[in-house]
Symmetry: C2
DNA sequence: TATAGGGCTTCCAGTCACTGGAAGCTCAAG
DNA sequence: CTTGAGCTTCCAGTGACTGGAAGCCCTATA
């Protein structure tokens, strides 16, 4: 398979696939003309990467997950540890965003949004704490 | 004020303050010895930036918010528009993270996490859909 | 007065995970 | 034989910093 077909079938853009090769996540062979020649296992790996990335795993996590995937002697505890750590990072991020959301939505509600310059959002950002919060 | 004191009082690291000068967010004067000389208004601006960044506004948003802040003829509608757009971006991000969280937490629960290699997380990533989901 | 230290300066490089673009080779169709 | 799509490599840019090196400036102490 050439890169275009693999991109199509894995849902990962060619540029990204080349990048993944650069950083050693996949190692496709080469045809005589210099084109990358992907096997089914490469496609499989890329699809794996696509799903792991969609779950928000970092590239380094993906690298580790892939190597665990290929290691018959892995312990599922190793996989679970990576996943749990990532899960808790996600939870942290959600909490942080919800805190922003909370503050910001109050400010937005308090702002009339008309032609006048008076604005509680700017007031809050400027450090004036006499605000709806 | 030198950069150290401003950093202290604004809560923004010196490196970041220099970066903000680089990209034109603040324009401190200079002392005879080449040191940056910050006025109270610079400090105020940096604190404004710190709070806006803490609410997740991009640097470009911050630039616009600052210039609205300094514009006596602004309309609060302009500020509100920026804030609302940002708020909806935050909502999108939260939704996306919660979807990840949903999938991932089911997978983590389903994984025994012991010494055996069998792992529903890897199974899911490998594209096997016969899974708890 | 020499020196030690801490603070300040600039500049360059690295982060993360791509993404865009340019220049040029290969291949299949007409 | 040309056209156009697909492939190659390499370089640069994204966002918002952050780390580090090399070197100047200032103050305090021995």
């Amino acid at each position: 398979m050439n890169i275009g077909e693999v991109a199509e079938r894995s849902g990962i853009p060619p540029k990204t696939i080349r990048y993944y090769e650069d950083i050693g996540l996949v190692r496709p062979q080469r045809s005589g003309n210099g084109y990358r020649a992907f096997r089914e296992t490469d496609l499989h790996k890329l699809a794996f990467l696509g799903r792991a990335r969609a779950l928000g795993f970092s590239i380094e996590d993906c690298r580790n997950l892939l190597s665990l995937y290929e290691d018959e002697t892995r312990e599922s505890a190793q996989v679970k540890a990576i996943a749990e750590e990532h899960l808790s990072a996600i939870d942290d991020k959600i909490a942080q965003l919800q805190e922003m959301r909370e503050t910001l939505s109050h400010l937005v509600e308090a702002c009339r949004g008309d032609h006048r310059p008076d604005c509680p959002i700017l007031k809050d950002l400027s450090g004036d704490l006499k605000n709806i919060r």
